[in-house]
């Protein structure tokens, strides 16, 4: 469902992403890890059309994000790490706006919005202007908006920032249940316990290069060298 082939992203002379290749299958929950500044968000931004790759190809659902950007983006639900919203729109209006950008008909947006509003239990404040929202509220709105068009792929950058435990659980359960329905999740995070809990496979990026790309079980050889905790393995690998 997601293919990255020899992807490079340079900013001037600095190489943020250095020739990475990844493949994520349909219905897979994929964790994308790495220390700060490793190239995670840059990779995600290239996948969602916010950055253009310097070289290499990225395809989502069989569509090249550079050559067929609209086709590729129609398949994606993107949840950014900083969920900036329009201050003067309400959460419901923001969802209607995003739904419209994906060309969903008015009545369908209404129904879909209500469905996600009920699911994430945000009805109490969804009709207030987003300028009044906390970080967690904004995060929940951006997650809800990303699910409106029933995307085949969800690209999510730090999914649980600012969420209270109950909301975090709802989000985790929702994402996991989506993979059971065949939706592919590409998640970048620093929360290693979430990776252990949810991900089928992971990839670790450091200084723009992939240094690990497999299932969590395959980390056992590394676990032996440390105290066995995933956290210690991650620190050892990214040293």
């Amino acid at each position: 469902m997601i293919h990255l082939q020899n992807v490079v992203k340079k900013f001037g002379s600095f190489t943020a992403v250095n020739n990475i290749s990844l493949h994520v299958g349909k219905g897979e929950f994929f964790g994308f890890l790495g220390p700060n500044g490793a190239g995670k968000t840059t990779t995600i931004k290239m996948m969602t059309g916010l950055f253009s790759p310097t070289s290499g190809t990225i395809t989502i659902g069989g569509y090249d994000v550079v050559k067929q950007p609209n086709r590729a983006k129609s398949n994606i639900g993107y949840i950014p790490d900083h969920p900036f919203l329009y201050d003067k729109l309400t959460g419901r209006e923001f969802m209607a706006f995003v739904g419209g950008l994906f060309n969903i008909k008015g009545n369908s947006i209404k129904e879909q919005s209500q469905r996600v509003i009920d699911h994430f239990e945000i009805g109490e404040w969804v009709d207030r202007l987003t300028e009044e929202y906390s970080q967690g509220m904004r995060q929940r709105i951006s997650i809800a908006a990303a699910l409106l068009h029933d995307p085949e792929v969800i690209v999510i950058d730090e999914p649980l920032i600012g969420l209270d435990p109950a909301s975090a659980k709802t989000v985790k359960d929702t994402l996991k249940s989506l993979t059971h329905r065949g939706v592919t999740i590409f998640m970048s995070t620093h929360s290693l316990h979430i990776v252990e809990e949810l991900c089928d496979r992971i990839s670790i990026i450091k200084d723009g290069k992939i240094i690990y790309y497999d299932t969590l079980d395959k980390l056992d050889t590394f676990r032996e060298r440390t105290d066995g905790k995933f956290e210690s393995v991650f620190i050892e690998l990214t040293k």
Binding site: D87, T90, R128, L129
Partner: protein, 563 residues
């Protein structure tokens, strides 16, 4: 003091690093700024020199009237700077993340106030410093002033004069915010706006420029006398008048009166600056808390999805992705008082201008004079459109803000978003421009070829002005700045406005021989031909395609770059 200089040092370092950022658009912005600002400063120099020369030698209004006109201009300039500073300093003092950060550090409130005040003063006045110096240089060169006149005028008089306007603005702003504790903020704001407008009205009503000119010219040719008896009593208390008087006496060679007026001005600046600092020391932190408190305790109102044409669920004649973009922009515009209030005020200004111009009678027998009047009106119409475009079109792309991710990650071509904004802006400005043209030209010249030409020429102007503002506004987009007023007064915006002004001046000079030729036909040969307009309109169209096309290319490329 050490802490203050430490903070200022890092602000300067950060500013310099930002300016010297080795990015193509930063380098281009800086280079283009240098070229255009210098070009404009040179233009301002020659304009000032030639205008002074014309008024003294051709129109022969005398030095007294010249400096009374200067006094009036400086008064309006003072009010404008002061109003502009109120708007910008609200953002700088009360909404800036830097102020919020500094309040969490062991930095005194007064130091934060001083830092943000200076920030605001230099941010909003730099362009005026350059233009002011160019105008002073042109004026001084005409009167043959010695070299030391220029730095003394600039640093000893003009900058303090602008500082005075900034001080008055910050005092008014702090008082307004402080009083919002007791009085409704909208009533208070309305009171001050009406107050400012009232002051301008009373000033011009009392000074009465037409009566002044008639009174002085009765004494022709002895118009260089000092006709102080014609001045209203309050004039001698105004800093703008002291500055004009200082210039008058410097021409007369009376250093005694020059020093007297300079002393008055500097004393006043010192006093008001001290007052502003005192008000800042006492009221800034309280006012800052008050604005935070107002924001946090604002009753949260639920809003149902807006109905009618701005219902985001409703289908329309446009594809959904386009209609939601249009509706979103309209909803955000209507819910942001700073946006629609400004727009209404600008439309009011346009209406007042239309009423004033429609009652003018311009029946001259001199083709050149008719041309001058026509082109002045054309230029003023275009200038109004340019001012509206700068305030509302230039920030359009920046106003996408940091929520741009939601649009960029959607299956939508950015070129389409760009075009939607361009078409919306062009439609609105075209209506305003054509109403302006129709009312002014039809009321003054009832001949159809000229009306047709005017409408076509304004169409070209609108296309160019929108193209430049949207294109350069996208190229220099500041997605992290929420305040459209700050965006419209940024370096990129000043540059855009200067380019637009240069374009308008060029167009006027291009049209001059054709319009003069037309009026010669009308007034001398009693004919009203139409064929003459083809060449200037074709040239105008070519310039529009070149300028608007280049700016659009830059803009479209810019909106598709990494965010």
């Amino acid at each position: 003091m050490h802490q203050l200089s430490h903070i200022l040092k890092y602000k300067v370092i950060s500013g310099i690093k930002l300016k010297l950022e080795p990015r193509w658009n930063t380098v281009m912005k800086n280079l283009a700024s240098v070229v255009v600002f210098d070009g404009f400063a040179i233009g301002a120099y020659f304009f000032s020199y030639n205008l002074t020369s014309y008024l003294i030698e051709e129109a022969r209004i005398g030095q007294f009237l010249l400096h009374r006109f200067l006094s009036m201009f400086l008064f309006v300039f003072f009010i404008t700077i002061s109003l502009g500073n109120i708007l910008v300093s609200y953002s700088t003092l009360f909404k800036s993340p830097e102020a919020r950060f500094l309040f969490t550090q062991p930095v005194s409130h007064f130091k934060i106030f001083l830092i943000k005040f200076l920030d605001n003063f230099f941010y909003s006045s730099t362009t005026f410093f350059l233009m002011g110096f160019a105008v002073i240089a042109g004026y001084g060169a005409y009167f043959g002033h010695p070299w030391y006149f220029y730095p003394l005028m600039m640093f000893g008089v003009f900058i303090p004069f602008m500082l005075l306007a900034a001080c008055v603005a910050v005092i008014v702003l702090l008082l307004v915010i402080r009083f919002t504790e007791y009085v409704n903020v909208k009533h208070l704001a309305a009171f001050f706006v009406i107050g400012y407008l009232g002051v301008v009205y009373v000033f011009f009503h009392s000074v009465s420029p037409v009566a002044l000119v008639n009174n002085v010219l009765e004494h022709y040719p002895d118009v260089d006398q000092y006709f102080t008896g014609f001045d209203p009593w309050f004039l001698k208390y105004l800093p703008s008048h002291w500055l004009a008087e200082l210039l008058y006496w410097s021409v007369q060679g009376s250093s005694q009166y020059v020093l007297l007026n300079a002393g008055l001005l500097l004393l006043c600046v010192g006093g008001i600056f001290g007052g502003a600092m005192m008000v800042g020391r006492r009221m800034y932190y309280q006012s800052w808390l008050l604005t935070i408190n107002k924001r946090e305790t604002r009753p949260s109102t639920k809003r149902n999805l807006t109905s009618g044409i701005i219902d985001l669920y409703a289908d329309s004649i446009f594809p959904r992705s386009i209609s939601v973009l249009l509706k979103r922009d309209l909803i955000r515009f209507l819910r942001e008082p700073g946006q629609w209030v400004h727009f209404v005020l600008m439309l009011l200004l346009v209406t007042v201008f239309l009423f004033s111009v429609s009652s003018l009678e311009v029946e001259f027998n001199d083709p050149f004079l008719m041309t001058v009047v026509y082109l002045v009106i054309f230029l003023f119409n275009a200038f109004l459109v340019a001012a509206i475009a700068l305030r509302f079109v230039y920030p359009m792309m920046s106003m996408e803000g940091e929520a741009l991710w939601s649009v960029r990650s959607a299956p939508l071509n950015m070129l389409r978003i760009y075009l939607i904004k361009g078409i919306t802006a062009t439609t609105i400005l075209l209506v305003i421009a054509q109403v302006l043209t129709y009312v002014t030209v039809v009321s003054m010249y009832s001949n159809y070829p000229l009306i047709l030409f005017s409408m076509m020429a304004q169409l070209m102007s609108v296309l160019t002005i929108v193209g430049l503002n949207l294109g350069l506004g996208s190229y220099f987009a500041q997605y992290n700045e929420k305040n459209p007023i700050r965006i419209a007064s940024s370096q990129g915006a000043s540059l855009t406005f200067l380019v637009v002004l240069l374009y308008l001046i060029f167009m006027v000079s291009l049209y001059t021989p054709f319009i003069t030729g037309y009026f010669e036909q009308v007034l001398i040969f009693s004919r009203s031909p139409a064929g003459w307009m083809i060449v200037p309109l074709l040239l105008s169209g070519a310039i529009t395609i070149m300028l608007a096309g280049t700016a659009t290319l830059l803009g479209v490329r810019a909106v598709s770059r990494d965010v």
